[in-house]
Structures are given as structure tokens and as C-alpha cells.
């Protein structure tokens, strides 16, 4: 085990801002992509429905 405590873990030997800043932005980017994929599918289905109703 590398860490003496939870605070030690979050501190990352003083590099916490950089380590967590990297992982947090990556998580945001993936989350954004997943949401965008859901929106794109919904829009595609809505466009088909709109066309069918014409």
C-alpha cells in the first residue's frame, strides 16, 4: 500500500492538482461523449418519426 491515509492519497505527494486534474478532465470528456452519443441517437430517431408523420 502506498498511502498512509486518505488525505495522503488525495495529496499525491504534492502533485494532487496535476494527477487529479488529468483524471477529472478525462472523466468529463468521456462523460460528455457518452451524453452526446445519447442525444445524437434520440435526434436521429426523432427525425425519422417527424418524416414518417408527414
Amino acid at each position: 500500500m502506498n498511502w498512509a491515509s486518505a488525505a495522503d492519497f488525495w495529496n499525491m505527494g504534492g502533485a494532487g492538482f496535476y494527477v487529479w486534474g488529468s483524471y477529472a478532465v478525462a472523466a468529463l470528456a468521456i462523460g460528455f461523449e457518452v451524453v452526446a452519443l445519447g442525444i445524437r441517437r434520440k435526434r436521429a430517431l426523432a427525425a425519422i418519426r417527424a418524416e414518417r408523420e408527414l
Binding site: 502506498n2 461523449e33 441517437r41
Partner: protein
């Protein structure tokens, strides 16, 4: 088995829908495992302290940014030579995920560079060529959607993707060809200089990134197929 059966977008639609959830499940399990290995098993680096743990994100993202571009170019080559529709849709489906991983590689690189080199950004060969890769992805996506007729967009973007492939060896060999701040590769085709736990964490995270990319591309290609086929009876029966 008839391999051309799934080359039809409407039959591939169903296959992609059945496969995508499994890719996401495998990606989540491997990412959790890889992060555990990376943060709790891998030891502190004797030179870089704890900041090196960005490697478990940075290297998988950078590998994936290049691998996905290569895939986009391969599908582009298929599009141009055989004029297959599904290959062009796959190229379009992979590109945004590749751009996302390129962004993550650049961002995590900046956040690794600051504590180790003292700068978020330098105009160094490795960093600059990776930035060019991001612009190639943007160019591919812009060109693909710049035409009224999507098939013309497919072919124009495929050509751009093929020309851009020249950038991949430039990225890969940049740390050998030029004097650079960026460290050389820790893993190459001859072996590795890394601690075994560090290597395992990095490979596990890379596999997770690969599985995620596959799932995301399959979900996106399904949306693209719906967009392209929206006038057909097949699409109307789905919505």
C-alpha cells in the same frame, strides 16, 4: 459464414447494438482494475514521485489517439477503393472518439509536463505532432460534414485521412528524430524499462480505452446509420 452479410448498414445496425454494451462493461471492469493497479499496487517512481501516475491515463490515451486515426484511415481506404458505405460510416463513427482521446493525451501531457518539466506546453516535436493529429481529426470531421451529399463528404474526408497517416510515424519516432523534452518510450517492440506493476496498470488501462472506443464507435455508427437511412422503410419501422 457470409462476411458480406454484415457489410450492409441495416444488418450491421443490429449486430452493433448487441455488441456495444459488452464493450462498455469490459471497459468499465478493466478501467477499475487498471486504476486500482495504478494507484494502489504500482510503487512510487524514484525520479518523478507520484506525478508519474498520470502515465496510466496519458499513454493509453495517446496510443488510442494514434490507433484510432489509423483505423479511420483504413476505413477511408476501403471507402475509396470499394466504395463501401459502412466503411465510410465507421470512419465517421471513430473520428470523434479519436479526437477525444487526442485531447485527453494533450491535456494529461500538459498536466504531467508542468510538475516534471516546469511548463504546461513547449513547442516540442512530440507535442506539436500530437496537436497536428487533433487538427487532422477536426479537419476530417469538418470535411465529412461539409457536403450536401454525404457520399461526397465520405470520399473527401477519406482522402484527408489517408494523407494524414504520414503524421503517425512522425509522432511515434519524434522522440528519436529530434531533441526533445518528452521522455522516450517506456515500452516498445523490444521490451520495457518499467516496473511490472506499472506496466500491468498501463496495459490494463490501454485495454479499457480500446474497449471503450469500440463501444462508443458502435453506438455512434448506429446513430449515423439511422441518419442516413431515415427515408427508408427499414428506419421507419424502428423509430
Amino acid at each position: 459464414m457470409n462476411w458480406f452479410y454484415y457489410a450492409s448498414p441495416t444488418t450491421f445496425y443490429g449486430l452493433a447494438g448487441r455488441l456495444a454494451p459488452w464493450f462498455f462493461v469490459i471497459a468499465a471492469i478493466c478501467a477499475a482494475w487498471g486504476l486500482w493497479l495504478g494507484f494502489f499496487v504500482a510503487p512510487t517512481d524514484f525520479q518523478q514521485g507520484e506525478a508519474y501516475r498520470i502515465i496510466f491515463l496519458h499513454v493509453p490515451a495517446a496510443w488510442m489517439s494514434m490507433f484510432l486515426y489509423f483505423l479511420v484511415a483504413c476505413y477511408g481506404a476501403l471507402t475509396l477503393t470499394f466504395n463501401t458505405r459502412l466503411s465510410a460510416m465507421m470512419a465517421r463513427a471513430i473520428a470523434p472518439t479519436g479526437a477525444m482521446f487526442t485531447f485527453v493525451a494533450l491535456w494529461s501531457g500538459a498536466f504531467w509536463g508542468r510538475p516534471t518539466w516546469g511548463a504546461y506546453w513547449v513547442w516540442d516535436a512530440r507535442l506539436t505532432s500530437e496537436l497536428v493529429l487533433l487538427f487532422l481529426y477536426f479537419g476530417f470531421m469538418a470535411l465529412a460534414s461539409a457536403f450536401e451529399d454525404p457520399r461526397r463528404g465520405d470520399r473527401a474526408a477519406a482522402l484527408l485521412a489517408l494523407i494524414g497517416v504520414v503524421n503517425l510515424p512522425i509522432i511515434y519516432f519524434s522522440v528519436q528524430w529530434w531533441n526533445t523534452l518528452h521522455q522516450g518510450s517506456s515500452v516498445n517492440f523490444k521490451g520495457t524499462s518499467m516496473h511490472i506493476a506499472m506496466l500491468q496498470a498501463m496495459l490494463m488501462m490501454s485495454f479499457a480505452a480500446w474497449m471503450y472506443a469500440a463501444g462508443a464507435a458502435l453506438v455512434r455508427v448506429r446513430a449515423i446509420i439511422l441518419e442516413r437511412e431515415k427515408h427508408t422503410q427499414w428506419a421507419r419501422s424502428l423509430a
